[in-house]
């Protein structure tokens, strides 16, 4: 894996972590406010779940050096 590819993987990983953490945190806040009377544990749970999913994705991405990120399109 070249330095450039490693850097791109890190960028993807950090972006994914930010998105999932933010989404988990947001959902946790919503659930905490709506259903659980502003308790803190839904927020912690949501953040942890988001972080765990992002960590798992990053781990899979780093352990697969030949994994490509893209899609197939028809030639025009």
């Amino acid at each position: 894996m070249s330095e450039k590819e490693l850097g791109q993987k890190w960028d993807r990983c950090l972006a994914d972590t930010a998105v999932k953490l933010g989404a988990g945190l947001g959902l946790g806040i919503v659930f905490s406010v709506v259903f659980f009377k502003r308790r803190t544990w839904p927020i912690a749970f949501g953040s942890g779940a988001g972080l765990g999913m992002a960590y798992s994705n990053c781990q899979h991405d780093f352990r697969s050096p030949y994994l490509l990120h893209g899609h197939m399109v028809k030639e025009q």
Binding site: A15, H69, G70, M72, E75
Partner: protein, 401 residues
């Protein structure tokens, strides 16, 4: 009552059932008759039902292929291409931040590695020290005690003095005690430090000299070519006082070849600069050639190109000082100094620049060609294999047969 009909389909079967049921109660009257008519009409209606059939020539959806359209021999090539994903704004921003922080991360990594190596080395050093102290060699403890006692004595003697005295006296006495206990090691350390100090002073003085004499050096280059032809015509009487004056300034704490090298220095570079008074130019080559071989002064007198001045920046600083005043007749100096120079051995490093000098002869002898200044590689004497011509043994024998 079982029905004896052969039912070909479900509808037909239901119809048969219905008929059989009707036959059992056929005597019930008009209600049953209506039912019978209704049931009889059903298969008739089915007979008129239409089924939509698609013809082969009609248009079909693109993603579906009929079996007739499929290739029997090779699959159709899929005209697809792979396109990498386009990073989003967040990913691009994180990438820019990462690239900006990369040098600092690398510096921190290097620092951590250095600290780790230092810690490992410290651990090993401590381990070795422990092993050494666990089973010290004989005489080690008395020596250590002498050094310690001398240091403490210095501390006691200088307890009422200034801060400098309180630091210097114990250190001095401890050093003296160490010198008494370990004389061989002390001599080695002094030799090494003396050599380093000497080379440092040589370098400093040569750099100062070169800084002072840098301006007149370029003017000497264009006039170096005609000099070889006119060398034999230089006035003979002048070199005599020069030869006499050359040795005295060389009386310095230098190795023996160096005093002879001083007049050779004058000869070697002087042919290159103009003998019309470029004293400053002569000074610059002279210190640089301090360590060059005197035996090579004869072949050198014809060539001595400007690269020679670039060699040997660590030569004597004092020797070239009288040279500027006596650079008027360099060629005669060569003639007069050749004989004593040849008799003395030269250190090996001198041989290399000297050997390089004849190589430059053709370039310098060509008429009408300018000898450009070229930086020449001067090997470090400490790194060279002198063989039997080690500079330390310069006074023992000559390398020239």
């Amino acid at each position: 009552m079982k029905s004896s009909y052969i039912c070909l389909s479900r509808l037909h079967w239901e119809y048969c059932l219905s008929l059989s049921s009707v036959r059992l109660v056929w005597w019930e009257g008009p209600v049953m008759a209506a039912k019978t008519v209704k049931l009889a009409a059903l298969p008739a209606a089915l007979g008129f039902a239409s089924v939509r059939v698609y013809a082969l020539s009609e248009v079909k959806p693109e993603e579906l292929l009929s079996p007739q359209e499929l290739s029997v021999y090779t699959p159709l090539p899929r005209q697809l291409q792979y396109v990498e994903e386009d990073p989003g704004l967040l990913q691009r921003g994180l990438g820019a931040v990462r690239l900006g922080l990369l040098p600092y991360v690398r510096a921190i990594k290097r620092a951590c590695v250095t600290v780790k190596i230092g810690a490992v080395n410290l651990y090993h050093a401590g381990e070795d020290t422990y092993e050494f102290l666990k089973d010290p060699p004989p005489g080690f403890l008395p020596r250590v005690s002498i050094i310690t006692v001398s240091g403490l004595a210095g501390l006691i003697l200088a307890r009422r003095g200034s801060r400098l005295k309180r630091i210097g006296v114990p250190l001095g006495l401890a050093t003296m005690g160490a010198a008494v206990c370990y004389p061989a090691q002390t001599v080695g350390v002094l030799k090494l430090s003396g050599k380093k100090a000497y080379s440092a002073t040589q370098w400093a003085s040569s750099s100062v000299t070169s800084l002072w004499k840098s301006s007149p050096a370029p003017s000497a280059s264009p006039e170096s070519v005609p000099l070889p032809a006119s060398e034999p015509k230089v006035t003979p009487p002048k070199p005599v006082p020069e030869a006499d004056s050359a040795p005295p300034p060389v009386d310095e704490p230098v190795s023996s070849p160096l005093p002879e090298a001083a007049p050779a220095e004058e000869t070697l570079p002087v042919p290159v600069p103009v003998p019309e008074g470029d004293a400053a130019a002569a000074e610059e080559p002279a210190p640089l050639l301090a360590a060059e071989a005197q035996p090579t002064a004869a072949p050198v007198e014809d060539s001595v190109p400007e690269p020679v001045p670039a060699a040997e920046p660590t030569s004597q600083p004092a020797a070239p000082e009288p040279v500027p005043a006596e650079s008027e007749s360099p060629h005669a100096v060569i003639l007069s100094v050749d004989t004593p120079a040849e008799q003395n051995s030269a250190p090996a490093p001198v041989e290399e620049p000297a050997s390089a000098l004849p190589a430059a002869d053709p370039a310098s002898l060509e008429p009408g060609t300018d000898v450009p200044e070229k930086p020449r590689f001067t090997p470090d004497p400490k790194l060279m294999d002198h063989g039997q011509s080690n500079p330390e043994d310069a006074d023992l024998y000559s390398t020239r047969s």
